[in-house]
């Protein structure tokens, strides 16, 4: 295959997925696949992690919260990145679908960050003796949550205005540039002021019987939150296109 046909194929693929109607029709299949696969993996990971994995030699059974904490934290970071990318796509090509995706990623990502912060502080009580420590990683996760909240609050101002969309996407992109700077500044501040008495990176190396359910949990969480994002995006598409012909046709045919 030569270069020209490949790029034209890619363009066609991109435009087909970009149009609301064909996205709505095509994403149905992927929504189901993501949802089922993610739910199955999560169930397997949690059953394995809660009942079959051996207790940790230091922390006992309390370490089992890792099977919720680490997958949500990892997915939250990735989802902020994805939100920045789709916001940039909206700003450059003015593609409505990218904005809907960014809005959905913002809600799901914010929820994931909240869950990971809450489970982290619950985990912190038995292991560190405190719910909250101004540790570098905790603080930068909190800032991530603040960035998500800022973008979500802008979208709350007026849900169906093109200007508000532009502002929210712009803030998301700026936040993406600023995220590494914030991360490193927080790490610096932390290492200068509090010697790392309690560090996440110093935990003992994991045994394979604990690692496999964790990896399954991470993969499952990505797929399941991907399912939530697709679902939310479909809802946004339907809401913004509710007066258009293809939606009316779908309703008439009973496809909805």
């Amino acid at each position: 295959m030569n270069q020209a046909t490949f790029s034209s194929r890619f363009k066609r693929w991109f435009h087909q997925w970009g149009s609301p109607e064909s996205f709505f029709v095509k994403s149905r299949f992927w929504e189901i696949i993501f949802g089922l696969f993610g739910a199955a993996l999560l169930l397997m990971s949690w059953t394995w992690g809660l009942f079959f994995a051996p207790p940790d030699y230091l922390q006992g059974d309390s370490f089992r919260i890792i099977y919720i904490h680490v997958p949500t934290a990892s997915a939250a970071l990735t989802f902020y990145f994805l939100m920045g990318i789709s916001s940039a796509i909206f700003l450059i090509w003015r593609m409505k679908l990218a904005d809907h995706a960014a809005a959905s990623l913002c809600i799901v990502g914010g929820t994931l960050t909240t869950i990971s912060l809450i489970t982290g502080s619950i985990w912190g009580k038995p292991t560190w003796g405190t719910y909250w420590q101004w540790d570098a990683r905790l603080t930068s996760m909190l800032i991530l949550l603040l960035l998500f909240l800022g973008v979500a609050m802008i979208r709350q101002v007026q849900s169906n205005s093109d200007r508000i969309r532009t502002v929210a996407c712009f803030i998301a992109v700026i936040g993406m540039i600023n995220l590494p700077i914030i991360k490193y500044s927080v790490e610096w501040w932390n290492t200068l002021h509090q010697p790392a008495t309690l560090s996440l990176s110093e935990k003992p190396k994991m045994h394979i019987s604990m690692l496999i359910p964790l990896l399954m949990g991470i993969t499952g969480m990505y797929f399941f939150s991907g399912y939530l994002v697709i679902r939310q995006t479909r809802y946004h598409v339907l809401k913004s296109c509710r007066r258009q012909g293809w939606v009316k046709r779908l309703v008439k045919n009973g496809a909805l």
Partner: protein, 222 residues
């Protein structure tokens, strides 16, 4: 084109020399902040001295974000910004001029405020130059960050709380490094290499900031 740029410069100089409202607001806000903070402390304790660097930087961040939402408001309301977008001078250059004068205004306020705060809070810097340099560099970064969000807040409307919520998380590096340098300036024995970090961020932000603000402005006037 250069003649027109000269005219823009002349206008900005005139405006910033005649608008004392901005400087006065910023100054009074900072003073009130310090007074209220000090009133909450037990006068006999020494705790207030330890919190000085964090307090000063927090107040400066808060004050700058609060006044920044009005930087572009007047020019937006009377149509000046719309003319900027259409004229043949690069928009980012005009924005740079605007930001430079905003920074000068913040600096003038700080020149008035810092000696006063030194007296009010009993601060004696071991390395005063270092502390003053950190204020100058830190506010330079703040001007860039807040002017991007100020242009965007033109679109949202007059919601300055939302503007602060969005802007403050982005200014965290300035708070951390600025307070760090202040602490180093208070204590002669400590190391102040962080100042290079702050300078690096300032260089980065001033090189991409005008362009980013110009893009945001173009989008907001579409």
């Amino acid at each position: 084109m250069f003649k027109r740029l000269g005219n823009v410069l002349k206008r900005e100089i005139l405006l910033s020399s005649r608008q004392f409202g901005f400087t006065a607001q910023l100054f009074i806000f900072l003073v009130i902040g310090i007074v209220l903070f000090a009133m909450g402390f037990n006068q006999a304790s020494d705790a207030i001295r330890e919190s000085v660097p964090a307090l000063l930087w927090f107040l400066i961040l808060l004050a700058t974000t609060l006044v920044a939402s009005s930087w572009f408001r007047d020019d937006y309301d009377n149509g000046w910004l719309a003319q900027w977008v259409m004229c043949d001078i690069p928009l980012s250059l005009l924005i740079l001029v605007k930001q430079f004068f905003a920074w000068i205004q913040v600096l003038v306020t700080l020149i008035l405020f810092i000696p006063l705060s030194n007296i009010m809070l009993n601060i004696e810097y071991e390395k005063p130059l270092l502390a003053y340099a950190s204020f100058a560099i830190g506010t330079a970064i703040l001007v860039q960050i807040t002017s991007v969000t100020a242009v965007l807040s033109l679109l949202i409307g007059r919601s300055s709380v939302l503007h602060s919520i969005v802007t403050l998380p982005l200014t965290i590096p300035v708070l951390i490094f600025g307070a760090e340098i202040n602490r180093a300036a208070l204590d002669a024995s400590s190391n102040a290499n962080v100042v290079w970090f702050l300078m690096a961020i300032a260089a980065f932000v001033w090189s991409i900031g005008p362009w980013t603000t110009a893009t945001a402005l173009r989008m907001s006037l579409e």
